[in-house]
């Protein structure tokens, strides 16, 4: 049955308006001026070249993570463990860079090659951590949500242990992370002080494009979809289902690890305690918002990144917490899902044909 075409955008628009209304109500409840708050967010996101480039810097890991999550969502999996996979990507990349800086190898490796190897190590780290979740699910019967959540905590603990233990700064360990890498090992940025790394942006754009083509145009993608929608039928149609589950975890972990490696090599230039910065959970929200389709993931991720960066100034300008961006993002996702449900109910009104 075909649905009427005009209805979908209408419901989407209603969802956005409702999210804005609810966020405004939250602002009013805290006696803050809503318009000033929104204006501050907009200014904070696109007011200057500097903040606009920060938006792109935040967009890169978010888009990478979303790309990976689209693969696991296609096969019907909730890869909550994405946060831990980002962290492990960062840990592996840091480990690689620290090794290349060590006296034994120090200086003997071309910096460009060193960075490339570190990024690859990060991808391997994320993949490893994701496949652990996959193995727990496939061979241990542990739901990927629980396995992933558990491993997130383990990853955080490992990260903290490294920062405060083996990799601590000379003298005193600190929440500010490990010793920054040598400048030659930073991913090149447009200017000295900027964190805008064109290579990272290119990686993110290529990543989402690859995922789009993979899911839309390849046998692999179609088979992933089949496994996601009906594993039993997929198996009877000749698709090795658990292998596909594992591969999708591996792919998602690879993207998450890449995001972690980018954070280490391009943004922070060291390992910090909150290296995943919640991009994993935000990626889950973006994936839900785009209804698991790669086509519009990039602009939506950019919008989320803009909200995040835009709200950074709120504490200064309006004495508001920057979590306002999270409120808006969360309500947006909730209302879009709600509107989708309401629309589906409306279409089916009167019951479906048996």
């Amino acid at each position: 049955m075909r649905e009427s075409p005009g209805l979908k955008p209408l419901f989407r628009a209603a969802a956005v308006i409702l999210a804005l209304v609810l966020t405004t109500l939250v602002l009013l409840a805290t006696k803050s001026p809503p318009l000033a708050a929104y204006a501050s967010i907009v200014r904070g996101a696109v007011g200057t070249w500097s903040v606009a480039s920060d938006v792109v810097v935040a967009w890169v890991p978010l888009l990478l993570v979303t790309s990976g999550l689209l693969v696991t969502f296609t096969v019907g999996l909730w890869n909550i463990g994405i946060e831990g996979q980002i962290t492990f990507g960062a840990v592996f990349a840091t480990w690689a860079l620290r090794s290349f800086q060590a006296p034994v190898l120090g200086g003997s490796l071309d910096p460009g090659l060193a960075i490339a190897l570190a990024v690859l190590a990060g991808m391997a780290g994320g993949m490893l951590w994701a496949m652990l979740v996959g193995a727990l699910k496939t061979f241990g019967g542990v739901n990927e949500i629980f396995g992933g959540l558990g491993l997130n905590y383990v990853a955080t603990a490992v990260n903290l242990w490294l920062i405060f233990g083996p990799w601590k700064r000379p003298g005193v360990a600190s929440m500010s992370g490990t010793v920054p890498f040598d400048r030659s090992l930073w991913l090149p940025t447009v200017t000295e002080r900027s964190r805008f790394a064109p290579i990272a942006v290119a990686l993110a754009v290529v990543g989402i494009a690859v995922v789009f083509v993979l899911i839309q145009g390849t046998y692999f993608g179609l088979r992933l979809k089949a496994v996601g929608k009906n594993p039993r039928a997929a198996y009877l149609l000749g698709i090795p289902t658990w292998q596909y589950t594992m591969v999708s975890f591996a792919l998602c972990g690879l993207f998450a690890g890449l995001a972690g490696a980018v954070q280490v090599t391009a943004v922070y230039h060291r390992l910090i305690p909150s290296i995943s910065s919640g991009y994993g959970y935000m990626g889950l929200m973006v994936s839900m918002l785009v209804n698991y389709s790669a086509a519009i993931a990039a602009p939506v991720a950019l919008f989320f990144a803009a909200l995040n960066v835009g709200s950074i100034q709120l504490p200064i300008t309006l004495k508001l917490d920057s979590s306002l961006a999270g409120v808006l993002q969360g309500t947006l996702v909730l209302f879009v899902l709600l509107a989708e449900g309401a629309r589906a109910r409306l279409m089916k009104k009167g019951g479906s044909r048996p």
Partner: protein, 496 residues
């Protein structure tokens, strides 16, 4: 209860499921409702039992207009429906199954309910223990439980939807006796079926639906030819039974022992030759399904061996069997066979296996169109499989099969399909046989077993008969075997 349905209309998108149907059912009578799949029977019954609301038209009960919005509404007015798959709770005790459906008191009185349960069961001579668990019951017993539950809830009218599917002959006789008794005590019964003989032997009157309209009604003695004409508009010819001489051995099961939760099969031997059709008969859950699955590598045997075309396949995976040319078609088409949310074209692509990295959509569409035409599927390449009717889903499943198969294993090839689809499906299966593919199928339709099989295996609670030539078997004898009678003759006879 006098039930009057007046001018009921119900449309689903472009489909007019009920286009103004008026029926009157007298109290204390059994009305048969006949019609092929998609004729509108189910919709009409769902409207009467509160699962769906009509677009227009009215329901009048004992001369009083009634609005029925939910199944609970219908039950409150005394209308109960026995669904084809009984709506019960397998992990619960029988008595709790009853309590669950009753209007809630805070603390249910289990002892009183159990006593009432026993009284009702004794009245109808049902051998049901209120303290037993639902999942230990056979399909027939679950029907009895459901009837008992509806009576307990005060039903004065009963709708039975295809109640004779999947139950044994003795169970059917018992069911019919119960229905007759209920009617004689004042119950209004609506008996929905596509089995002519059931309606002919049970009902006081029959109405026939066709394409959402009332095609006509008939009184006993029924004229079968006329009923068929009303159902289909013309008499449908039955496909002639072609016997294909057996070729080489395709499937060989030796001393197969299978163990599932509820039953065990010990030492099953079967040899199937190329082009042969073997029917597996039995009540549902008698072991035929796990045997069929074990021939496809979907169920591990405890002991014994399976060979496909002389190749040892015991304890190999289903995908290994697939490579050897074995196909398995599950009964639950949309749950196990097809992927809801994917189109026909995408199914054909999936079934082909991978050819490189990228899908050639253009070629896939052409391929899909030719398959759709070859299998006469009513749908387009971009039709989602869940939008197809049951018959077309089954055609799609057949269309997905490779051409060079050595063995097709089918669960209930024509369950829920109308006669025309049934004949079509079997003509396609027989085409395969002519090319040397062997077929092993499960069916609870005795006529189907006898009509299409070369040999028949009967299953009863894990016991398996030796293969019996279909031509030497009659419906009655087969029905008795399925019901567990007449097995003595096999006990001494050596297995084939």
């Amino acid at each position: 209860m006098l039930i009057e349905l007046r001018d009921i209309c119900k449309t689903f998108g472009p489909v007019r499921a009920n286009a103004g149907i008026s029926i009157e059912v007298a109290p204390a009578s059994i009305l048969g409702i006949l019609g092929e799949n998609g004729a509108g029977k189910s919709t009409l019954m769902k409207i009467l039992s509160g699962f769906q609301e009509p677009d227009s038209g009215s329901i009048v009960l004992d001369g009083e207009a009634a609005t029925i919005r939910s199944p609970a509404d219908a039950l409150a007015r005394g209308i109960g429906m026995l669904h084809q798959d009984p709506l019960d709770f397998p992990p619960l005790k029988l008595v709790d199954d009853l309590i669950l459906g009753s209007r809630g008191r805070l603390r249910p009185d289990r002892r009183r309910t159990a006593r009432e349960f026993r009284e009702l069961a004794a009245r109808f001579d049902f051998d049901l223990d209120p303290e037993a668990y639902v999942d230990a019951l056979t399909v027939g017993e679950r029907q009895q439980l459901e009837i008992l539950r509806l009576l307990w809830l005060g039903a004065r009218a009963l709708i039975l939807d295809e109640p004779t599917t999947g139950i044994s002959l003795p169970q059917k006789e018992k069911l019919f006796a119960t229905i007759r008794r209920l009617a004689s005590e004042g119950m209004t019964v609506l008996f929905v079926s596509h089995k002519l003989e059931d309606v002919e032997s049970l009902c006081d009157r029959a109405v026939v639906l066709r394409q959402g309209l009332l095609a006509g009604s008939a009184d006993p003695p029924f004229d079968t030819k006329r009923l068929v004409e009303m159902m289909f508009g013309k008499e449908v010819p039955q496909a002639p039974h072609l016997r294909i001489p057996g070729g080489g051995e395709v499937l060989s099961a030796r001393g197969l022992c299978l163990d599932s939760l509820r039953l065990q099969i010990k030492g099953l031997d079967l040899s199937v030759k190329a082009g042969e059709v073997v029917g597996l008969a039995g009540m549902e859950g008698s072991g035929q399904a796990i045997f069929l699955a074990s021939c496809a590598g979907l169920e591990r045997a405890v002991a014994g061996s399976v060979r496909i075309e002389e190749r040892e396949m015991t304890s190999r995976s289903h995908h290994d069997y697939k490579r050897e040319g074995v196909a398995y078609l599950p009964a639950a088409r949309l749950e196990e066979g097809l992927v809801p949310g994917l189109s026909l074209e995408e199914h054909f692509i999936l079934a082909q296996g991978t050819r490189g990295l990228f899908i050639d959509r253009k070629a896939a569409e052409i391929e899909a169109e030719s398959r759709i035409a070859a299998y006469n599927i009513k749908g387009r390449p971009d039709s989602m499989v869940e939008s197809l009717s049951g018959g077309n889903q089954q055609r799609a499943l057949l269309a997905l099969l490779r051409d060079d198969l050595s063995l097709i294993l089918v669960e209930h090839p024509t369950r829920g399909l109308d006669i025309e689809s049934t004949i079509y499906i079997w003509s396609k299966l027989k085409e395969r046989c002519a090319k040397g593919t062997a077929i092993v199928f499960i069916s609870s339709d005795l006529d189907e077993i006898l009509q299409y099989s070369d040999r028949v295996l009967v299953f009863f609670a894990g016991k398996v008969s030796p293969p019996i030539g279909a031509e030497s078997l009659g419906v009655e004898e087969l029905g008795r075997l399925i019901g567990g009678k007449g097995w003595e003759s096999f006990e001494e006879a050596p297995r084939a």
